[in-house]
Symmetry: C2
Subunit: 282 residues, 2 copies
């Protein structure tokens, strides 16, 4: 069982993908990874569907952008990480081996693609273009800690962070595309507020990388945020570019709150079910 490093620089690149500009989108991702690596990042998160843009009008637009998980594009990103412990989490339109289209995220380190997650909760019109994933997300054990993955609307289902925390995630990485909506009380982006709550009740770190750029008339929350294990925003960025914030991921491994209280141990699995925390992960 690997130890979680006590200080990892968590980076987000709030870039602006553009629907139909698929070659340029991939270039933007490459540049974003290189820039973040230069800043010393240990975890580099990019938006949902960073390779394709979001505001599709036809399924053909999705298909033209879609990549298989074993595409040389993803292998090239792994090569950028050679000689570093860094991990990239990047959203991409996936062409499945079954010919279907998935809204996916890949976890990549220097050794290659370590895991792919297919979004299980499709938001609104995504249902017209994508097939929902049929499996819970992976927790990938990396040199910088155990990384769980969600995509955008998944975060609004508290069952998902709960599952990842119980499965041993130190950090939940969430590529997102959050359409612009009004802020809630406290001046918070609503989805960030939901992430803060999930971080606090599970004592787990969460990083959300949103996107920038007006695409086919759509604007975005630009709500990129790094949230610590107590539900505080450790850093946020409201415009395009790099956010890099150091976090102590070892905090995620101690779920005790007080002498007699434990965020996961106090669950009443006898009443509502749920995953038993894997003690060998503590």
């Amino acid at each position: 069982v690997s130890a979680a490093p006590s200080a990892v620089l968590i980076a987000c690149q709030q870039i602006a993908p553009w629907v139909t500009e698929n070659v340029e989108n991939r270039r933007r991702v490459t540049r974003a990874i290189v820039d973040a690596l230069a800043s010393g990042a240990g975890v580099i998160v990019l938006p949902e569907l960073a390779t394709s843009g979001y505001m599709f009008e036809t399924e053909n637009e999705v298909r033209a952008a879609a990549l298989p998980a074993d595409s040389p594009v993803l292998a090239d990103w792994a090569r950028l990480l050679a000689g570093t412990p860094a991990v990239v989490v990047v959203g991409f339109a996936e062409l499945g081996e079954d010919g279907r289209l998935y809204n996916s995220a890949a976890v990549v380190d220097a050794s290659g693609v370590r895991g792919v997650y297919r979004k299980t909760h499709l938001w609104n019109r995504e249902k017209l273009f994508f097939t929902p994933g049929d499996a819970l997300p992976p927790v990938v054990d990396t040199a910088v800690g155990r990384i769980g993955v969600l995509i955008c609307y998944d975060l609004e289902f508290p069952e998902m962070v709960r599952y990842l925390a119980a499965a041993g995630a130190d950090l939940v990485a969430v590529p997102t595309n959050w359409p612009l909506v009004p802020r809630v009380s406290g001046g918070l982006v609503p989805e960030v507020m939901i992430g803060m709550a999930s971080a606090r009740v599970n004592k787990v770190a969460i990083v959300c990388c949103d996107r920038a750029g007006r695409e086919r008339g759509q604007e975005w929350n630009q709500g990129t945020a790094v949230i610590d294990q107590f539900g505080n925003i450790a850093g946020e960025r409201r415009d395009a570019g790099l956010l890099a914030v150091p976090l102590d991921l070892t905090v995620s491994r101690d779920k005790t709150i007080t002498e007699h209280a434990d965020a996961l141990g106090d669950r009443r699995l006898d009443l509502y079910g749920g995953l038993v925390a894997q003690e060998d992960h503590r």
Copy 2:
């Protein structure tokens, strides 16, 4: 199936119970109910353990305050509601028919005690004095809407609001005693922030009634808040006294978010289980 009224005045009485002053605590509850009724309240929420105070040093202190659910004290509170549709949710130290002590909340209307919930997630030193409840909370169908009940730390388990929303609750009433802790990002009381997230992801209203008064050296968040179905704080009070805020409880009955999105319908019960929404409650 009853309709939810479109405007219900939700009242909280952030009173200050005092451990060992049990007769006076019950008088305070009575006065608080009478005052809230005079303001036109449809739902009146009081703190956790309003009859007993909180900072117990011995089990005997709890036992001296404990009341059975069929106590004349609770029946008297029902009588105060005669001729009104109003509902009271009040925390009390319960003496079970099994002789055990429970941290409970009663739902009372003019017809009497409609439901009792025994806190299932005991916080910290409560575990030294109380037995945890062995049943999920009730959803009580009243003249002012369907009211679900949680107590304090229960709210930090998102499974609980999820369960109540799926079981048809229009409003989740949460008597609490929140020991003073630092605010989180947005200047929010952390437990209120967690309530905001649960309200938004379940599209359900939540009302939290905290307590006031320094008791045996302990101060409190005084975080009393009424939270609407979009996760906004509709009203809050940071000192002792009455908070009364009108809410449209019919909003809780429509879980759609957009044409293709539904807060409960989009859950992936095939992946993580959960209660199927009772369609006859829609």
